[in-house]
């Protein structure tokens, strides 16, 4: 099976105020394309460190991390920037839209850093905005959108570069339960369409929707289980997984 990401013996050690902190102590797992993984763990478990490494925002102390055919563990800062721009789709807890840009322009940002701007790119951004249900708010700014709408813009943005996986960091942390359900339904739909999703969360309700849950503790993998009985919107609502108005 084709792998979206493959991590082998990943370790990360920080030196913080003269003290060595071993945030990750040899983590190995692989994520096949089309998987839907929740990464969980209490604070201090190495969850954030793993997220930063998966997002290519940081480099591991040792081990390897294959994203497609390339080991990104030893790449330079500029190379990592290119990887982020082309292979990873970020979704953050606080949405992280750029305030001075409109909805479409925000979706366009990753393409901008690949130098792939143009009418074709613009058209694709508009399509993505429509796909997440914001076709009528293309030129709105962050301040004119609700939290759920902002997060949907962020999800559209994460898809614009056709990433190897979507990396969602507590993507529903700031949302009420109704909106959380909306976003999770959107994830599920995307996963059903073949997108790989990795989400970091500490809420069981959220992780319950994932196909697989990896739990971290003290920098090591505590458990890595499939969830055959996961929660899905298809089952519970008995209709195709598209509760979001398109």
């Amino acid at each position: 099976m084709e792998l979206a990401a493959d991590i082998r013996e990943l370790t990360k050690t920080y030196v913080l105020k003269g003290e060595t902190v071993r945030a990750l102590r040899g983590v190995t797992f692989s994520i096949p394309a089309g998987d839907y993984v929740a990464i969980m763990g209490p604070s201090g478990s190495g969850k954030s460190t793993l997220l930063n490494l998966l997002g290519c925002l940081d480099r591991p102390t040792a081990g390897s991390y294959f994203l497609g055919a390339d080991d990104v563990a030893k790449m330079t800062d500029d190379q990592l920037s290119t990887i982020r721009a082309t292979r990873i789709g970020f979704v953050f807890q606080s949405y992280n839209l750029i305030p001075q840009l409109t909805v479409v322009e925000n979706i366009e940002v990753p393409l901008y850093y690949q130098g792939r701007l143009g009418t074709k790119a613009r058209k694709r951004c508009v399509e993505l905005a429509e796909m997440v249900g914001l076709g009528d708010r293309l030129s709105h700014r962050q301040t004119q959108l609700s939290g759920g709408q902002q997060q949907r813009v962020a999800i559209a943005r994460s898809l614009v570069n056709d990433p190897y996986f979507i990396l969602a960091d507590e993507a529903t942390g700031n949302l009420d339960s109704a909106t959380t359900a909306e976003i999770l339904a959107l994830f599920e739909r995307l996963n059903n369409e073949g997108r790989t999703i990795i989400m970091v969360t500490h809420e069981d309700e959220v992780s319950g929707h994932a196909k697989r849950v990896i739990r971290l503790r003290d920098g090591l993998i505590q458990s890595d289980v499939q969830q055959p009985n996961r929660l899905t919107f298809a089952k519970s609502t008995n209709r195709p997984a598209a509760p979001v108005a398109v």
Partner: protein, 448 residues
């Protein structure tokens, strides 16, 4: 395309805080406007000075007689014979590079016209000279068909004729034609027939200490020979309780040199021969306007450098203002930097973004400054008129050059202003941009 987008993005970011951006731009705006203004005013002043000096003639040399300090006496003052003499003037004829020699003797006199009983005597200047004087001083007669300057026949025959300046003609003959009328000098009780009226001529400015400002408006010109015969070399003044006397043969000798190349050499020869007997001689001064032209060029350079320094300082201050704001902006937008880095921006992308933003700021400042700078001539005119009508006394105390000077926009100042504002943007934007680029993306994303 990418750069264009970066540019648009820069403008959008700046528009998030319009007031802040305007205030930041102000520094550069003032700097650039002052560069253009200072250059224009500097050029205006130097062109004016140049014009005045050139009106004295680059191929002329003036030998001035300088009156020594009077002996201190309560009611009797006498000055011994001083200045360049006729014999010395004669000697100049042997210098081969000298083409023309003009003897000049100037006396303050009162003039009147007996045909007009309403005219009070007017204080003016009586100048004894030769026909060449008109050419050298650039004097022209009005209506050449009917009037003329002094002729060599007038000089040879010591004729009692005169040529008067336009202003004097207007005042003595408000409603009559002055030609062929008799000008009367009440102090000497002599008459001179008016043969010519001159066109108006702007006064020349004083240059250094050796050449006083000349106002030609109340001049009367008579043949030098006539003056010598009728008035001699002694000037006596009698008043209630005082008597003064001074003796001088010539006020000035102006010589025209055959070639501008030879002016300095000739001036040196003249000076040496005049001071042959007494190297410390104080009663003559040899002035070559060409030297003053050179001097004024050097002064201009100094002036420009000085103004340039002031402008540079204001630009540095403006640049520091920009840098300050950009550093604040970078800190404020740490989160944005983190987002952009996460979405694939390289360090160089972030650096470029902030650099472009700074350059946009400084170039907008530069362009506005340029526009205001180009208004300089108009603004100076308005300012002068305002000052004249609101505070006439303050206006009157302005130096002449400030009153007549016309600022001239130096063409170079336009690309210069633009270049300077871009350079300021690059120089002062570099550090904030590097700070932004070198942020750790993880830290930046966490920033609240």
């Amino acid at each position: 395309m990418k750069l264009y987008r970066t540019f648009i993005l820069g403008i959008k970011s700046l528009l998030l805080h319009p007031m802040r951006s305007i205030l930041t731009v102000l520094g550069i705006f003032i700097g650039v406007a002052s560069v253009i203004w200072l250059l224009a005013i500097g050029e205006g002043i130097s062109v004016e000075a140049q014009r005045q000096i050139e009106s004295l003639g680059a191929d002329n040399i003036m030998i001035r007689s300088i009156k020594p300090p009077e002996e201190q006496g309560a009611n009797f003052r006498q000055v011994n014979a001083y200045g360049i003499t006729r014999a010395e003037m004669k000697m100049l004829e042997s210098i081969p590079t000298i083409k023309t020699i003009i003897p000049i003797r100037e006396l303050p006199k009162e003039f009147t016209y007996n045909g007009n009983p309403n005219v009070k005597p007017i204080q003016g200047r009586l100048v004894g000279c030769t026909p060449e004087y008109a050419e050298v001083m650039r004097l022209e007669v009005e209506d050449p068909a009917r009037s003329h300057f002094l002729t060599s026949i007038d000089v040879n025959s010591s004729a009692a004729v005169c040529v008067i300046a336009a202003e004097l003609a207007k005042r003595l003959f408000p409603s009559e034609d002055p030609i062929k009328k008799q000008l009367y000098l009440p102090e000497d009780k002599t008459y001179y027939e008016i043969v010519g009226v001159l066109k108006h001529r702007d006064p020349t400015a004083a240059i250094g200490g050796s050449l006083a400002a000349q106002d030609f408006s109340l001049d009367v010109y008579i043949p030098y020979s006539t003056m010598q015969k009728r008035m001699g070399d002694t000037v006596q003044k009698r008043g209630s309780g005082f008597f003064s006397m001074q003796i001088f043969e010539l006020s000035q000798v102006t010589v025209k040199v055959d070639d501008v190349e030879n002016v300095r050499k000739t001036a040196k020869i003249i000076e040496d021969s005049l001071k042959m007997r007494d190297p410390e001689r104080q009663d003559v001064a040899v002035v070559a306007p060409i030297d003053l032209i050179e001097q004024s060029r050097a002064t201009k350079m100094m002036y420009m450098m000085f103004l340039g320094m002031i402008a540079a300082i204001s630009l540095v201050v403006g640049g520091i203002g920009i840098m300050n704001i950009m550093l604040a902006t970078v800190t404020e937008r740490t989160r944005e930097i983190g987002i952009r880095r996460a979405l694939g921006a390289k360090q160089s992308d972030i650096r470029r973004q902030f650099l472009v933003e700074t350059i946009v700021l400084s170039v907008i400042g530069g362009l506005v400054g340029l526009l205001v700078g180009l208004l300089c001539p108009v603004a100076i005119d308005i300012g002068r008129n305002l000052l004249e009508s609101l505070a006439p006394r303050a206006y009157a105390s302005l130096p002449d050059v400030a009153k007549i000077m016309k600022p001239i926009i130096v063409p170079l100042s336009i690309p210069l202003a633009f270049g300077i504002s871009v350079a300021v943007g690059v120089i002062f934007g570099m550090y904030p941009a590097m700070r932004a680029a070198e942020m750790d993306p993880i830290e930046a994303l966490r920033h609240e």
